[in-house]
C-alpha cells in the first residue's frame, strides 16, 4: 500500500508537467490543426535554458526558470512567424513536415552546443525529502507540482477569462467564421503557438532539475504529448490535464509493477488501445469526412 | 408516366428521423419512390434535403425508422455497400476528382465494374488487360452519353462549373446505378446548360433508371419530375404531382412565394 501511494505521489509530480506538455500541444493541434514536432524540442529547450542561466551564468534558479518560460514563448512565436505563417491553409501533412524539419535542426543544434552528455541542474531546494508516513517526496518535486498546477490554472484563466482566450475558442470552433467576424486569426495563431511552446518549455524547465537535461529528451516528450492529446481529446484542455495525470499514473504503475523497461511504451499502448476501443469517442471533434 | 408502367417499389423511407446533437434534422419522414420514377425532393434551405440524401446513401445514420431499397434494409450499411446495391448519388459541391482527367474520372466511376482480381493485376495476367480495355470502352460510352468526350483528357478541375457537374453525373452513371440520386445537379449551370441537362435526365430515365433529385431550380424540378416531395423543417409538408404541389398553399407559404410562385 505504501509503495502504491509512493507511486501515486511520483505520478502526481510527473503528471503536472505532462499536463503542461499536453495542454500546450492540444492548443496548437486543436486550434491550428498542426501536428507539431517541435513541441518536444521546446521542452528540451526549457531544461537547457534553466541549465544555461542557473548553472553557467549564475542566475537565481527562479529567475532562470522564468527566463526559460518566456524564452520558450518567444522561440515558439518565432517558429510560427517564420515557418508556419507562410503555410497557412496548407494541409496537415505539409505543416507537419516543416515541424519535423525544424525539430531535426533544433535537436542537432542542441547536440552541437551542449554535447551528447546529459547535464545536471542543481536547485536551491534542500536535498532532504519531506516524509509523511511511509511516503517521501523531495521539496523540489513539491515545487514542480505547485508551479505546474499554477500554470495549468493560469492557462484556464487565459482561455476562459481573456479576450485572447475567447478568440482562441472561437477559432477552434470555426476559424473561417471567426475570421469573418473580424478576429485577427494570424495574431491568434501566433499567440497560440507561443503559449503552447511556453508551456512545453515550462514543463522542461521543471523536469530538467528533477532528472537531467539531455539533447534527446525532446523525442519522447513529443510522443508523450501526442499520447496525452489523443487520450484527452483534440483541443480539449481539461482532457489534456486529466490525460497528463492519467499517463503519468499508468507509466508509474506500469514501471513499478510490470517492467520498468516498458515505462515509455505505456503511452503508445494507450494510443493504440484508445483508437482500438473508441476511435472517435474520446476526441472533442471527429475528423471531418469529405 | 414511369409510375404507370411499372409499379414496383424501389426506395422507401419509413418514419425516419435524424438527429444532429439534439437538433432534429429530419423528423418522422416517410416517402417512397417507384421503379422508373423521377421524384423531385424540394424545400427551402435547411429543410433537410441534403441530410435525406446523406441518410439514404449511408453517410448519416438514422436515429429511428427504416430505409429500404428493393426490400433490402439500408440502415447500418456503409456508403460503398449501398452503392453496390445500385443506389448512387452525386454531390452538391465536390462532385469530381479535380486532379484527374475527365476520362480518368469516368474510369474511377467504373470501379465496381472491373473484373480483374488482385493477382491478375500484380502478375499482369490477360484478364487484367481485357478488363482494363472494357473499362476504357465503357468510359468512352459514358462520356459520349453526357457529352464530355471532347473534354476527356482535360483535368476535371479545370472545366467550367457546369461541365464539372456533368463529370459528377458521369462518375455516378459509371457505377451503373439502378437508382440515381442527384444533389442540385443544375446549380451553377446557365439556362441552356440546364435545358441540355433536362434532356440528359430524360435520356437516363429512358434506360429505366429511377431518379431522386434535390434541386432549387423549380422550372427544372417541375419539368422533369413525375412526383414532388416537399420538405420543410425536416418534415414532409406536401407530396404529389408537380401541378398539385405547386398549388398547395403550405408549399407556397414555405417558399414565401419565391420559387413556387415563379415556377
Amino acid at each position: 500500500m505504501a509503495e502504491f501511494l509512493q507511486h501515486l505521489v511520483n505520478a502526481l509530480v510527473l503528471g503536472g508537467t505532462y499536463a503542461l506538455l499536453g495542454i500546450g500541444l492540444t492548443l496548437i493541434f486543436g486550434i491550428m490543426r498542426i501536428v507539431n514536432f517541435t513541441h518536444g524540442e521546446l521542452f528540451a529547450f526549457g531544461a537547457y535554458f534553466v541549465y544555461l542561466f542557473a548553472m553557467l551564468l549564475g542566475f537565481n534558479f527562479f529567475i532562470a526558470f522564468a527566463i526559460a518560460v518566456v524564452g520558450g514563448c518567444l522561440l515558439g512565436a518565432a517558429i510560427e512567424f517564420i515557418l508556419l505563417r507562410p503555410l497557412r491553409g496548407a494541409d496537415i501533412e505539409t505543416t507537419m513536415l516543416v515541424t519535423i524539419g525544424a525539430w531535426i535542426i533544433m535537436q542537432n543544434t542542441e547536440l552541437l552546443v551542449w554535447g551528447g552528455v546529459a547535464k545536471a541542474i542543481t536547485t536551491p531546494f534542500p536535498e532532504t525529502p519531506l516524509v509523511i508516513g511511509a511516503i517521501s517526496v523531495s521539496p523540489l518535486r513539491v515545487f514542480v507540482l505547485v508551479i505546474a498546477l499554477v500554470l495549468i490554472g493560469g492557462t484556464y484563466a487565459l482561455i476562459h477569462r481573456t479576450k485572447l482566450g475567447m478568440g482562441m475558442r472561437a477559432t477552434f470552433q470555426d476559424s473561417e467564421t471567426a475570421e469573418l467576424m473580424g478576429l485577427n486569426i494570424r495574431g491568434i495563431y501566433t499567440a497560440t503557438f507561443s503559449i503552447g511552446s511556453g508551456l512545453a518549455a515550462a514543463a522542461g524547465a521543471l523536469l530538467g532539475p528533477v532528472f537531467l537535461a539531455a539533447p534527446t529528451m525532446g523525442d519522447l516528450a513529443s510522443l508523450k504529448a501526442f499520447a496525452i492529446v489523443i487520450l484527452g481529446g483534440l483541443g480539449n484542455i481539461t482532457g489534456a490535464t486529466i490525460g497528463g495525470f492519467l499517463l503519468a499514473i499508468i507509466e508509474e504503475l506500469g514501471a513499478g509493477y510490470i517492467s520498468s523497461g516498458y515505462r515509455d511504451a505505456m503511452g503508445f499502448l494507450i494510443i493504440i488501445a484508445v483508437l482500438l476501443v473508441k476511435p472517435t469517442g474520446l476526441f472533442a471533434r471527429a475528423e471531418r469526412i469529405g | 408516366m414511369g409510375q404507370a408502367s411499372t409499379n414496383k417499389q424501389a426506395l422507401s423511407l419509413e418514419h425516419v428521423s435524424v438527429n444532429f446533437g439534439g437538433l432534429r434534422a429530419i423528423a418522422d419522414v416517410s416517402f417512397e419512390v417507384q421503379d422508373g420514377e423521377v421524384v423531385g425532393l424540394i424545400g427551402p434551405n435547411g429543410a433537410g434535403k441534403t441530410t435525406a440524401f446523406n441518410l439514404i446513401t449511408g453517410f448519416v445514420r438514422a436515429f429511428a425508422g427504416n430505409i429500404l431499397y428493393h426490400g433490402t434494409q439500408l440502415n447500418g450499411l456503409r456508403p460503398h455497400e449501398i452503392a453496390a446495391l445500385g443506389l448512387v448519388r452525386t454531390f452538391q459541391r465536390t462532385s469530381v476528382f479535380p486532379n484527374n482527367t475527365v476520362f480518368e474520372n469516368a474510369l474511377i466511376g467504373l470501379h465496381r465494374r472491373g473484373r480483374s482480381t488482385l493477382w491478375d493485376t500484380i502478375l499482369a495476367l490477360p484478364r487484367e488487360r481485357t478488363s482494363e480495355k472494357e473499362l476504357a470502352d465503357e468510359a468512352w460510352d459514358i462520356l459520349r452519353t453526357v457529352g464530355l468526350d471532347m473534354r476527356a483528357s482535360e483535368p476535371a478541375g479545370s472545366l467550367p462549373y457546369g461541365e464539372q457537374r456533368l463529370v459528377g453525373v458521369a462518375l455516378a452513371l459509371a457505377a451503373k446505378p439502378s437508382m440515381l440520386l442527384l444533389d442540385e445537379p443544375v446549380s451553377g449551370m446557365n439556362a441552356s446548360e440546364t435545358v441540355k441537362f433536362m434532356k440528359l435526365i430524360e435520356a437516363i430515365r429512358a434506360r429505366g433508371m429511377t431518379i431522386l433529385l434535390v434541386e432549387h431550380d423549380m422550372r427544372m424540378v417541375m419539368g422533369v419530375s413525375d412526383r414532388v416531395v416537399v420538405l420543410n423543417h425536416g418534415q414532409i409538408i406536401a407530396e404529389g404531382t408537380p401541378a398539385v404541389v405547386q398549388r398547395n398553399p403550405e408549399v407556397v407559404q414555405a417558399y414565401l412565394g419565391r420559387g413556387a410562385a415563379r415556377a
Binding site: 503508445f268 472517435t280 | 476528382f97 484527374n100 474510369l107
Partner: protein, 349 residues
C-alpha cells in the same frame, strides 16, 4: 525518348559493378538501394493512398529482426510456460518470413488505424514504431536487446546438388538488392496503374465521392498498408543480412524521416520520385561527410526538408516533368493532346 528511358536506366544500374570499382561507393549504393525500396513502399501509402506512416521504420525493423532470427535461430520461453526453440534456417527463408510478418503487421495497423485517418494515423504509426523499438530493446531473451543480434548469415544462391554460393561479395549483393528493387518497382507500378491504384487515388482525393461510387475504403487502405509494410520488411531483411548485425537502433525515428525526405524530395505519388530522392539522400552524406559532423549533416537534412516544402512542394520529379512538358506543348494549341488521346483510344476500339 521516354520509351527508352527505362531501358537506359536499367542498363546503367545493371552495369554499375562493372565500371564502379570503388568498394565504398558500391557499399553506399547497396545501402541506398535498400532505402530506396523502403522509400518506394512508403510512397505507396503516402503518395497514392494519402496516408502518412510515421512509423514506417517499424516494418523495416520487423523485417530485419524476423529475418535475422529466422536465420540465426532462437530459444525463448513464452510467459514462463512454453519453450520455443528455433534452429537456424537459410537466409532466404528469413527474407520470406520477414516480408510476410511485416505485411501482417501492416494489416493489423491498417485494420486499427484506418478507423481514424489523417493526424491520428500518423500518431498511431509513430506509436507502433516506438512500441516495437521498446520490445526489441527489452525482450532480451529473443532479441539480445542492446547487445544486438550478431553474425546474421548472408544470403546463399545455388541449386541442390550443385553447391551454394554465399553472397559476401558486394557486387553480388548489389545485384540482389537491384533485383528486389526492380520487383518492388514493378509490383507498385502494376498496382497504381490499375483499377486498384485508381481507387486509392480516388480515396486520397475525395473519400466521400469515392465511397459513393462503391469503392470500399477499408479494403484499399489495408491493401496499401499490407503491400507497403511487406516491402519495407523485405528491405529490412536485405539490410540485416548485409550489415550482419541488428540492434534496436534500427527502429530509430530518423530512418523514417530519411524515407519521408526521400519521397517528398523526389515527388510523392510518382513512381520515379523515391528513386530520385533516394539517390540524392543516399549520397548526400557521402558528399558532406568530409566537412560536416553528423549533427551538421542532420541539420542539412532538416533545412533541405523545409526548403523542399516551401520551394518544390510537389517534389523534383513532377517539377521536371512539368518543365519538359512546357517545352513540348508550346507550339500546338490546347485541344491538341485531347484530340490525340481521343484518336488513339478510338483506334483501339
Amino acid at each position: 525518348m521516354s520509351r527508352y528511358a527505362p531501358i537506359f536506366w536499367l542498363v546503367i544500374f545493371l552495369t554499375v559493378p562493372l565500371w564502379l570499382k570503388d568498394q565504398y561507393f558500391l557499399h553506399v549504393l547497396i545501402i541506398t538501394g535498400i532505402f530506396i525500396i523502403a522509400a518506394m513502399s512508403l510512397n505507396l501509402l503516402l503518395g497514392f493512398t494519402g496516408q502518412l506512416s510515421l512509423g514506417h521504420i517499424a516494418f523495416f525493423g520487423i523485417g530485419a529482426y524476423a529475418s535475422s532470427l529466422t536465420s540465426v535461430g532462437f530459444d525463448v520461453e513464452l510467459f514462463g510456460v512454453v519453450r520455443v526453440v528455433h534452429k537456424p534456417w537459410p537466409a532466404v527463408a528469413g527474407l520470406i518470413i520477414g516480408t510476410a510478418l511485416a505485411g501482417f503487421c501492416g494489416f493489423l495497423i491498417g485494420k486499427l488505424s484506418f478507423k481514424v485517418r489523417g493526424a491520428y494515423f500518423i500518431i498511431v504509426t509513430l506509436s507502433f514504431a516506438e512500441v516495437t523499438r521498446l520490445v526489441a530493446l527489452n525482450w532480451v531473451e529473443l532479441t539480445q536487446g542492446p547487445m544486438a543480434i550478431n553474425n546474421v548469415p548472408p544470403f546463399t544462391v545455388g541449386l541442390p546438388g550443385l553447391g551454394y554460393v554465399a553472397l559476401w561479395n558486394k557486387a553480388y549483393y548489389y545485384y540482389l538488392v537491384l533485383f528486389i528493387a526492380i520487383l518492388a518497382y514493378i509490383l507498385i507500378a502494376r498496382l497504381v496503374g490499375s483499377r486498384i491504384g485508381r481507387a486509392m487515388v480516388a480515396l486520397k482525393e475525395n473519400e466521400s465521392l469515392a465511397v459513393s461510387i462503391g469503392i470500399d475504403v477499408t479494403r484499399y487502405l489495408i491493401l496499401g498498408a499490407v503491400v507497403s509494410a511487406a516491402l519495407a520488411g523485405a528491405a529490412g531483411s536485405l539490410y540485416a543480412h548485409y550489415v550482419k548485425i541488428i540492434d534496436p537502433d534500427v527502429f530509430h525515428f530518423m530512418y523514417t524521416v530519411t524515407m519521408i525526405i526521400m519521397v517528398i524530395t523526389g515527388g510523392k505519388g510518382t513512381l520515379a520520385g523515391p528513386i530520385v530522392g533516394g539517390l540524392i539522400f543516399g549520397f548526400l552524406p557521402v558528399a558532406v561527410r568530409s566537412f560536416a559532423s553528423p549533427e551538421v549533416q542532420w541539420m542539412i537534412y532538416g533545412v533541405f526538408m523545409i526548403i523542399i516544402v516551401f520551394v518544390l512542394p510537389q517534389g523534383i520529379v513532377p517539377a521536371v516533368t512539368q518543365w519538359i512538358e512546357s517545352f513540348r506543348s508550346r507550339p500546338p494549341n490546347d485541344t491538341g493532346p485531347a484530340l490525340a488521346s481521343l484518336a488513339t483510344s478510338r483506334k483501339e476500339d
